[in-house]
Symmetry: C2
Subunit: 417 residues, 2 copies
């Protein structure tokens, strides 16, 4: 059972919008054992849509399209579907009724007639109503293959996938399981890592595949096992990762975790430690990463972003002398910021960042790409410097934040807090 | 001149990584007048790569691939290229020399032999050296079509595209210009908007296309004009947007801006106003959005994220009585937070958020999805409530943050600060 995704519309192709739908859908399909084998991102034109549906039918069993269902003139998807499936478009009473209720709820009943066209669907389709927008989800089955046509807005796509499509597919097909395990290795260059575990990799069972995903100076080894016995898959992964322990154990910071903030969560809860942040050059990204994990409020107490350097002095107690002697981008200021954060929020751990993300230099003429960060765990302190002149502003904030959390994890493991 | 992008590797298909490279490349190609007409995301297998190259050659003039160039066993791209172009892979001395310098700089000279394979390239290729990784960029020209093969890591892709590929393409082809203008309309449902400007849309010149991009309760109208005279294109867009003023002028918050934080920047600099934030449920996302704009340090002075409710009391001066009577998620607490932020950072404007993003409720048992936010501009204050139970944690933070900034912009325009 293989899936093909088709993203329709010019928003992605023009570079206006990053495609996050495909990532979400692929993740959820993977969880029920359906791999996505290809993604097509195409423009909203009749011929292209029909031609791509044809190709998708040749390589996949489940075809999921997103986008091209708006009420405006630039959306052609429904017509393309009708032509491709040799079907006609009809007004569906159930959908119109659903639309009416949605519009009453939003105090937009006067708009109903204009949006009547949104209740026009393929006559052969099974309809999944959309609780968050006016375009319903349509499902067509033909020659044992399933085609699902979704709107494009991520806020609408995600609940439809999670609450309606996944349960439907799970119920319809008896599927193979896919089980993954991600092992995080740090301070071990990818090529040397590959050489170190080469024999192990070559001896992996046929139903297990391995990928290397480098991110900063962490390499994620992803083991993916496929089969019909979930318990057996878990056993297999357990056995294979055990074999890795003597080879790379010392460089592993997590034996099963994807995002660095999730790995941190487990550690902090286990060790009952609280955390705070004082960010400058990361501008909120470090705190956003930490709080992106559900349940983070049990260990993350607060953060401050003293963007203007006077605020570093006034709120965090950084000394004016240090700033005038060393500038705001210095090891000393990073250290005073983390100390200030520890005191302000009364936490066990504090993290601070200060740097110049560019594209312009700061008022002290520090070199673009320079960062200092300080990590405090109770009485322990570590300062580090990075130089990342080639990174764009947002990548810079994310890279630094990921690195700070990764270093904190290493410290928590090595120093045995 | 049309471009096709091919993203190679299982990271995207498996849902492990969001594809940000395509967005970056599409944006930069658009700037030099090359539209991306299709994106293929495929697995790293010989047959699929070769077949997709074939299809891409049929629809595009410039083909850009990313990914599949790592030193590990799961990468097959180079072999597929050699077979497709009927070429052979040879060790390139210049690339090996570049690699040596890179490894010396990183104190990894001992790894050079293992990575020797990264200097093996297609014999017909022109090489663009990669300053941030071990896989070079290769360019092959055949039958007037250009194929460019890039690594997959975004930190490596972006500088290669910006500093090497775009200048190369610009120099090589004399290209048409593409000029875009984005008009942001708020509080105007897409369907009603479409009806209101229908006659105008139908009368647009052939070389101008229109897209509707809804984001929250803002609709971005993107006008894209193509032609060989840049000045003339700008004139055309100017004329067409002038015609819209009597139709929808009152609902427009920006006549030319894409991201809400960029629109805000212009306003704040023009009006010489400073800004601070006090975030709870948005967890840093609001501040990250604001600081994602270069130059934001001239108006954004600082932010605080008092995640634990005791910190709202201790640092922001929210009253304990208000919290015990109204809970931390209430209009009153939002108002006291924005007041506290105004005082703490001494700014003209402050923004606050408090809510329950889920998936779990808070310690006060407030309903998941509830948010209050407060906007202060000097003596003016406005509080708003949103209810977003269907949004995932990160979407929730982003949606609320976008909305707060949008409301602030409306206030700055309407209240004439």
């Amino acid at each position: 059972m293989k899936a093909v995704l088709i993203t329709i519309g010019d928003e992605i192709l023009s570079g206006n919008t990053v495609d996050t739908n495909s990532n979400f859908i692929a993740n959820h399909l993977k969880d029920i054992g359906i791999p996505v084998v290809q993604i097509f991102t195409i423009s909203d034109t009749l011929d292209t849509i029909k031609k791509t549906l044809q190709t998708a039918f040749e390589i996949g069993d489940i075809i999921i399209t997103t986008g091209g269902l708006g009420p405006t003139k630039d959306d052609k998807t429904k017509i393309a579907f009708a032509e491709f499936f040799n079907d006609e478009l009809v007004l569906d009473d159930g959908t119109f009724d659903h639309l009416r209720k949605l519009f009453i709820k939003r105090n937009r009943e006067h708009l109903l007639e204009i949006n009547r066209n949104q209740a026009v669907v393929l006559s052969k389709a099974i309809i999944f109503q959309n609780e968050n927008g006016s375009a319903p989800c349509q499902m067509i089955e033909e020659n044992g293959k399933v085609t699902i046509c979704l709107p494009g807005v991520p806020y609408e796509v995600k609940p439809l996938i999670k609450d309606k499509i996944i349960p439907f597919l799970k119920n319809k097909f008896s599927l193979n399981h896919i089980e993954s395990q991600i092992i995080s290795v740090v301070n071990f260059p990818e090529s040397l890592l590959a050489l170190t575990i080469e024999d192990w990799e070559l001896a992996l069972p046929n139903n297990i595949s391995l990928s290397y995903l480098p991110i900063g100076n962490r390499v994620k080894l992803r083991l993916t096992a496929t089969g019909n016995d979930l318990k057996e898959l878990k056993n297999q992964l357990q056995q294979e990762s055990e074999k890795l322990k003597p080879l790379i154990g010392e460089k592993v910071i997590s034996w099963n975790g994807n995002e660095i903030q999730e790995i941190l969560k487990e550690l902090l809860i286990e060790k009952k430690l609280t955390l705070s942040t004082a960010e400058s050059c990361t501008g909120g990204e470090l705190t956003r990463l930490i709080t992106s994990v559900s349940g983070s409020s049990s260990y993350f107490l607060g953060g401050i972003i003293p963007y203007d350097y006077h605020k570093k002095i006034e709120i965090l107690g950084v000394s004016e002398k240090t700033i005038s002697e060393k500038t705001a981008v210095s090891a000393e200021v990073a250290q005073e910021m983390s100390l200030g954060s520890l005191k302000l929020f009364h936490t066990d751990i504090s993290l601070s960042t200060t740097g110049v993300s560019g594209p312009n230099s700061d008022e002290f003429n520090n070199e673009i790409g320079t960062v200092f960060y300080s990590i405090r765990v109770k009485d322990f302190e570590k300062t580090n410097r990075l130089f990342l002149p080639h990174l764009e502003r947002n990548d810079f904030a994310n890279f630094v934040s990921q690195r700070v959390l990764q270093d904190l994890i290493e410290i928590l493991i090595q120093e045995k807090f």
